[in-house]
């Protein structure tokens, strides 16, 4: 969808690449603020990126 690296996304969201990786792997649940930032970055709603289980 996006030609985007983890490093570039991390820099955009002002977090480390390891945080992006940890979120992708489900090892870390981001704060609401970061979740909204991620959703806003991709232009979608939070529910489209994260699901509560």
């Amino acid at each position: 969808m996006h030609d985007l690296t983890q490093e570039a996304l991390a820099q955009e969201l002002k977090v480390t690449r390891q945080t992006i990786l940890a979120i992708e792997k489900g090892k870390y649940d981001p704060s609401l603020e970061l979740a909204f930032k991620i959703a806003r970055f991709f232009g979608v709603s939070v529910e489209e990126v994260f699901i509560y289980d």
Partner: protein, 151 residues
């Protein structure tokens, strides 16, 4: 200030503290190292605020918080237990110190018993550091600090 410059400064301050400790022992003046240590730590705290290339995000903060609170949870029990033991010694003698033996006047006196307790406390503080590192490693691993991409 760059982070590496800060680490260099921390090393220099550490060496100065060792020198002050030695001076304090030679002059038998505990105020030198006490005041020097507080000033050294204050200097490092101020210097750390000027470091510009720290990348600390919410996950790193969470790891620090979890490791810190777990360390405190374990350590206060140990520290309180040891302090209770010390209190028993304190209440067990009239002045809280063992009665000194009669020694020749020029014999080097082995008087600072409370100093030995200070050394014991420092050993306990070193244990805190190791405990904290252990918890930090545990939580860093839990929150994917050393994970890598599969591809």
């Amino acid at each position: 200030m760059k982070q590496n410059t800060f680490y260099l400064l921390a090393g220099i301050v550490g060496l100065i503290e060792v020198g002050l400790f030695w001076l304090s022992v030679v002059l038998r003046n505990p105020l030198i190292i006490t005041a020097g240590f507080i000033m050294g730590v204050g200097l490092l705290y101020v210097a750390r605020m000027t470091v510009t290339d720290i990348r600390e995000d919410e996950r790193a903060v969470l790891i620090s918080q979890k490791a810190g609170s777990r360390t405190l949870e374990v350590f206060w029990v140990l520290f309180f237990a040891v302090s209770l033991g010390s209190a028993v010694i304190g209440f067990g003698t009239p002045l809280g110190l063992p009665r000194p033996r009669e020694l020749p006047r020029d014999f080097p006196r082995d008087e600072p018993h409370l100093g030995y307790f200070g050394i014991f406390q420092m050993i306990m503080l070193c244990c805190i550091a190791f405990l904290y590192i252990g918890f930090r490693v545990y939580y860093a691993r839990k929150y994917g600090e050393w994970d890598s991409d599969e591809e």
